[in-house]
């Protein structure tokens, strides 16, 4: 974003920009100060985005970079507004990373009314079910936990307790002291974040080769790789052979 571009907007437009960007503005501030505030905020936002992205993503983003004024959009695309939901009963689970899933769901209005009007109805929950296989069967359930939700909720990120296993989610209605299935999602397999133990002696140097697969200074490049410090749950010990900061490029 350039100062020139911001100065080309009216004072009201600048206030709208600050409002859209949730930038706190002192009432009655003059235009020059407002522009300066916005420039600082845009710069800070840009730096944060760059820092949050790894090299592959930074590089990919540059091929779409054709203007320094690109962050700003005062246009409306309301004519293309999409439905918030499709009024059907469904639940979907997407694996985002080893620790988090994203689920989105919907309960058909008619069905929601029926549930609400059931005598003894107490609420609905999102049940996160851990399974020991990709097939759902009550004997395959290892564990589960419930997250209270409202009918107005449609999506949620959930932190998973276990890796390298199977999960699904269910929307369940609590009626008196029982619960009933409303809808169940697809089953996903979570992933592992560790190097498995050697099975045999096919290559007795595998420890060394795995160490060499991480970054060390011995090949000339001594670049450290930005670490996972800001996301502690992602610190990955790999058989004590590799430092976790070597695994985020």
């Amino acid at each position: 974003m350039t100062e020139e571009r911001l100065l080309s907007f009216s004072y009201e437009q600048l206030l709208e920009i600050s409002d859209r960007g949730s930038i706190q503005v002192t009432p009655g501030v003059d235009k020059t100060t407002l522009v300066s505030l916005l420039l600082d905020a845009f710069e800070e936002d840009k730096s944060e985005r760059e820092e949050l992205n790894n090299l592959a993503i930074q590089m990919e983003a540059r091929k779409f970079s054709i203007s320094q004024d690109e962050e700003l959009d005062l246009g409306q695309d309301d004519d293309l507004e999409l439905p918030l939901r499709y009024n059907e009963t469904s639940a979907t689970l997407l694996l985002r990373d080893p620790s988090w899933v994203f689920c989105f769901w919907d309960i058909e209005d008619k069905k929601a009314d029926e549930i609400r009007n059931t005598p003894g109805f107490q609420g609905i929950v999102l049940r996160v079910v851990e399974l020991n296989s990709k097939d759902y069967h009550k004997d395959n359930i290892l564990d589960y936990f419930d997250i209270p939700i409202k009918f107005s909720d449609y999506r949620r990120y959930v932190n998973l307790p276990s890796e390298d296993t199977w999960y699904c989610v269910e929307i369940r209605a609590l009626v008196e002291d029982k619960d009933y299935l409303i809808v169940q999602s697809n089953i996903i397999e979570t992933t592992r974040e560790y190097v498995t133990a050697p099975h045999d002696n096919r290559n007795s140097h595998s420890d060394e080769l795995i160490r060499l697969s991480g970054f060390t200074s011995e090949f000339g490049e001594t670049h450290g790789v930005s670490g996972y410090q800001e996301i502690p749950q992602r610190i990955i010990p790999i058989h004590e052979l590799l430092d976790e900061e070597q695994f985020n490029d």
Binding site: E4, R49, L52, N53, N54, L55, A56, I57, Q58, M59, E60, A61, R62, K63, F64, S65, I66, S67, Q68, D69, E70, E71, G75, D77, L80, L82, R85, T92, L94, R96, D97, P98, F102, F104, Y154, N186, E189, T191, R192, E193, Y194, T196, A197, P198, R202, N203, H205, S206, L209, I210, L212, S213, F215, F219, G220, E221, H223, R234, N248, D249
Partner: protein, 535 residues
């Protein structure tokens, strides 16, 4: 060849991934985001072809893998975009000539203006006369000459792990990518670039039926395989069905990618951000920027990186070219040393896989093509110890590799699906998943249509595929050109839903459909039945 390669200390596999999303707007006289293609053409694709021309002329062999995405190849063949690129070059040439006058009193800047005037004149002439506007013919030529192994990727560069619930969609993405490749290059691709290196266990089952031998994986995706990869990242692993995964080497990636401590950040290289579009007075630059008021990068950049301050020194092409050679030599030396170390522990010659976004070379790192050329020449000089190979070359030498299955991963930030599934973009999946379900429903309802209805269904299938592009959620997350990304995906969803409703009401408007077919004209061969369960 096989014995010769076995005797090397190691091999380097350079893989360039060339991709841009489908952006084509005939409804406007010009369109800002079409410049993504024009910049990549001028700064990456044409310089790469020139590089291979020089190597061929000098008798220097090379083996480089390049994946050309179906959306990119379609745009490169599109007559409207070809004409617009010629217009774009003509405009830049006019600006460069105007600059010759403007900089008459400043010898340093004047030299730069001369450089761009020469570059754009040559590019325009070659694009028209040598390539006859279709550069794919030249890529095919270099494949036939053995310089390139061209591979494909998914039809619209979909991030497959987020669609793994829909086998028909994944098959449609891969089948359409392979078919697009076959129609252009008259050959089946040996490898596939999984968009964003997005792998999930089982994706290989969709690749095998198309004769795909390999794909590229992130480093941790391979390291976290079901069984420990005994050779680390330096030999491929074979999935149980025989499709191989080659993993990205991280040392070589960082050396080339990092703006701060990698080669491209060297002070003598051309500065990407300092552009004439922002340096010249508005009334002067107005004819060359967006709508005459919104400043954009023109591609004319006069300054070297210098340092982090705004006081940049003028760019010196000779100095930068020498530095690119120096960096290439250093890169090759480091890879040789790396191979020497690795080969002590391996029973087969190691392969160092170096996949990069092709657009890095030239577009962002102006000297990138010079670096690549110097690298290829240096490897040729050192051909007694090291060789450039494609993944399929390596598989000819070592067809049997450890059998295991990699783990879910991508090359995105934090290594999984976060970039494409985040607070900034997660809203899209409710709709893109719904589109697939509705497309499958349409195929069931209309299993074998002809005429107008078939055209409508084929267009519906195009809109479904276009809505899956990983670029749109990527841009929303990365924060660059977000409004356009949001609007693009909404438009494809809207187009599909309009078709869906029209088919349900049996009220297809021929004029509307024809207009949409002309606009979103990608994959003219697409058969909507590709979404059928038993296709």
């Amino acid at each position: 060849m096989i014995e010769q390669l076995k005797n090397k200390k190691g091999m380097i596999s350079l893989v360039l991934h060339a991709h841009l999303p489908f952006v084509r707007h005939p409804e406007y006289e010009s369109f800002l985001e079409e410049a993504w293609l024009f910049e990549a053409l001028s700064e990456t694709y044409l310089p790469l072809l020139s590089m291979f021309d020089r190597l061929e002329k000098d008798g220097i062999p090379a083996r480089v893998t390049i994946s050309l995405s179906p959306t990119l190849t379609h745009m490169l063949q599109d007559e409207l975009l070809q004409q617009r690129y010629v217009n774009h070059l003509t405009m830049l040439l006019e600006l460069a000539e105007k600059e010759l006058d403007f900089t008459a009193g400043n010898p340093d800047e004047h030299k730069m203006a001369q450089m761009y005037q020469e570059i754009y004149s040559r590019t325009l002439r070659e694009y028209e006369e040598v390539y006859e506007r279709n550069i794919l013919k030249k890529f095919r030529y270099f494949q036939e000459k053995g310089y390139l192994e061209i591979i494909t990727t998914c039809a619209t560069h979909s991030f497959l792990p987020h669609y793994q619930n829909f086998p028909e969609m994944i098959r449609a993405q891969i089948l359409t990518g392979v078919e697009s490749h076959d129609r252009i290059f008259s050959s089946q691709p040996k490898g596939v670039w999984l968009p964003e290196c997005g792998y999930f266990p089982g994706v290989e089952e969709y690749l095998k039926p198309f004769g795909i031998e390999y794909f590229l994986s992130s480093a941790h995706g391979l390291l976290y395989s079901e069984d420990r990869p005994v050779n680390g990242l330096y030999a491929p692993v074979s999935c149980p069905n025989g499709v191989h995964a080659f993993a990205r080497d991280r040392a070589s990636s960082r050396a080339v990618w990092s703006a701060t401590d990698g080669y491209p950040g060297d002070p003598v290289y051309r500065d990407f951000y300092r552009d004439l579009g922002f340096d010249r007075p508005l009334d002067y630059i107005a004819p060359y920027i967006n709508c005459g008021v919104n400043r954009v990068n023109t591609g004319l950049k006069y300054y070297a990186i210098t340092d982090k301050s705004d006081n940049k020194v003028i760019y010196n092409p000779a100095l930068a070219a020498a530095k690119a050679e120096e960096h290439a030599a250093q890169f090759v030396e480091n890879r040789i040393r790396q191979c020497e170390t690795l080969s002590q522990y391996m029973e087969q010659a190691p392969v160092i896989s170096c996949p990069y976004d092709a657009e890095l070379f030239g577009h962002w790192w102006f000297e990138g093509p010079l670096f690549l050329e110097a690298l290829i020449r240096k490897v040729h000089e050192k051909s007694d110890v090291i060789a450039l190979v494609t993944p399929s070359d390596y598989l000819k030498v070592y067809p049997q590799n450890q059998v295991t299955r990699p783990a879910f991963s991508s090359w995105g930030d934090k290594g999984y699906g976060q970039v494409w599934l985040d607070g900034a973009n997660d809203w899209i999946y409710r709709h893109t998943h719904k589109l697939i379900e509705r497309m499958q429903e349409l195929v069931e309802r209309f299993p074998d249509e002809k005429g107008l209805k078939e055209r409508t269904l084929n267009q519906a299938a195009r809109e479904v595929l276009l809505a899956q592009a990983s670029d749109w959620p990527f841009i929303m997350k990365a924060g660059t050109m977000v409004p356009y990304a949001r609007k693009s995906i909404k438009t494809h969803i809207h187009n599909f839903n309009y078709i869906y409703d029209s088919l349900s009401r049996n009220t297809i408007k021929t004029e509307w459909l024809t207009k949409l077919e002309k606009k979103d004209n990608i994959f003219p061969f697409l058969d909507y039945r590709v979404f059928r369960k038993d296709y």
